[in-house]
């Protein structure tokens, strides 16, 4: 029989399809894990409802549970569950190291205060918003005026 600890460890080795520097666990998209005999129930919390990577995530979760000898049951939770605050400290650091600004803490009303964003390359706070939207639903695009590099910024939601 598979243990929950093994499942969490296996899922922590599954890279996010769009941000492969972080795992699904670091991204916070894994909710509850429940074991019932061979059946392994996993809650998958979408970052954005329109996220096109969701089906890939589901397939990867299923494959990694089967590799452990479990029978996966992945439930996509549509209700409000994921927020960018679920990204772990380790996940944030990996994003920053990969040149992607980790999201700001979620506040009741998003005010795009430029002083709150740090360039992941040089740490400068002198950055500007280039586009609220980016290559995936969860990203914006910013520009650092100090090191003159564009960078991607994860949205706080």
């Amino acid at each position: 029989m598979v243990s929950a600890t093994e499942v969490w460890a296996a899922l922590d080795a599954v890279p996010d399809p769009e941000l492969p520097v972080v795992s699904l666990v670091e991204l916070g998209v894994i909710g509850a894990v429940a074991i019932d005999g061979d059946r392994v129930q996993v809650e998958l919390l979408p970052t954005f409802l329109g996220c096109p990577a969701l089906e890939t995530m589901r397939a990867q979760i299923e494959a990694s549970i089967r590799a452990l000898g479990g029978e996966p049951e992945v439930e996509v939770v549509l209700e409000d569950s994921w927020t960018s605050d679920r990204i772990s400290a380790a996940g944030r650091e990996k994003l920053r190291a990969a040149g992607i600004g980790p999201p700001q803490p979620v506040t009741p009303l998003i005010r795009l205060d430029p002083a709150a964003f740090r360039c992941p390359h040089c740490g400068s706070r002198d950055t500007t918003l280039e586009n609220l939207f980016g290559a995936t639903p969860c990203r914006s695009q910013r520009y650092c005026r100090t090191c003159r590099q564009p960078f991607e910024q994860l949205k706080a939601i």
Binding site: L49, G50, C51, P52, L78, E79, D80, P137, K155, I157
Partner: protein, 223 residues
């Protein structure tokens, strides 16, 4: 009390069809930032439609499957509002529609977060969380257009053309709140009678033909 499908289908159809209309700017928006923004917003709206169809299917009086609801119905069975079906090839009209849609949509999503149906309220909260970015985009355009005389005149004309359809997006009890919000945002008067939902709204037939073409050609095809 109306069933879930009754409550959610008009909203889901609006999100699907507006997502479709907004995606028409992919590749041809006036500049790259807006190309990316419209593509991303469109994808997000269609994601909301998918979640709402999913809830309709699961709920009482529901049944069927999500793709069938989204793309398998006859044109006259869709419940979308005239605001979202209209083909708007002029950029100023499209921008005005984005601003007006977000203004109105925020009110009905907010109302849904208070639903007694916990699943519906939960999905509404998720949508609300994501829609803040759509509003931030709309608000940026609003400020930009109101920043000079030409922008203001064009916005006023475009909003004037769409105002009746915007009122028609919401159920009558929510309309006074929309009028109050709009009066707060727009420095010009708004006039027009509500354009109500009806079968075959303007522009929908050709859009439906295109939207459902693949599914009609290959029923139940899998990708």
């Amino acid at each position: 009390m109306p069933g879930r499908a009754e409550l959610l289908l008009p909203l889901a159809d609006d999100e699907l069809v507006l997502g479709w209309r907004d995606s028409e700017w992919t590749g041809v928006a006036p500049f790259l930032e807006e190309d990316v923004a419209f593509s991303s917003i469109a994808q997000n709206e269609i994601g909301h439609a998918r979640a709402l169809y999913e809830l309709s299917v699961r709920g009482e009086g529901g049944g069927g499957e999500v793709d069938e609801l989204a793309l398998g119905r006859a044109a006259e069975e869709y419940r979308c509002a005239p605001l979202v079906t209209a083909a708007l090839p002029e950029w100023e009209d499209t921008i005005a529609r984005r601003i007006l849609y977000e203004l109105a949509d925020a009110l009905r999503i907010d109302a849904l977060t208070g639903s007694d149906d916990a699943e519906v309220a939960g999905v509404a909260r998720k949508i609300q969380r994501e829609e803040r970015y759509h509003w931030a985009h709309a608000e940026m355009w609003l400020e930009r257009l109101l920043g000079d005389d030409e922008g203001r005149a064009r916005l006023e004309a475009a909003v004037g053309r769409l105002w009746g359809a915007t009122l028609g997006l919401l159920e009558p009890p929510l309309r006074p709140a929309l009028e109050a919000e709009a009066a707060r945002r727009f420095p010009f008067p708004l006039r027009g009678e509500p354009v109500e939902r009806a079968a075959a709204p303007p522009g929908f037939e050709p859009l439906w033909e295109e939207m459902t073409a693949v599914r009609r050609l290959v029923p139940h095809g899998q990708w």
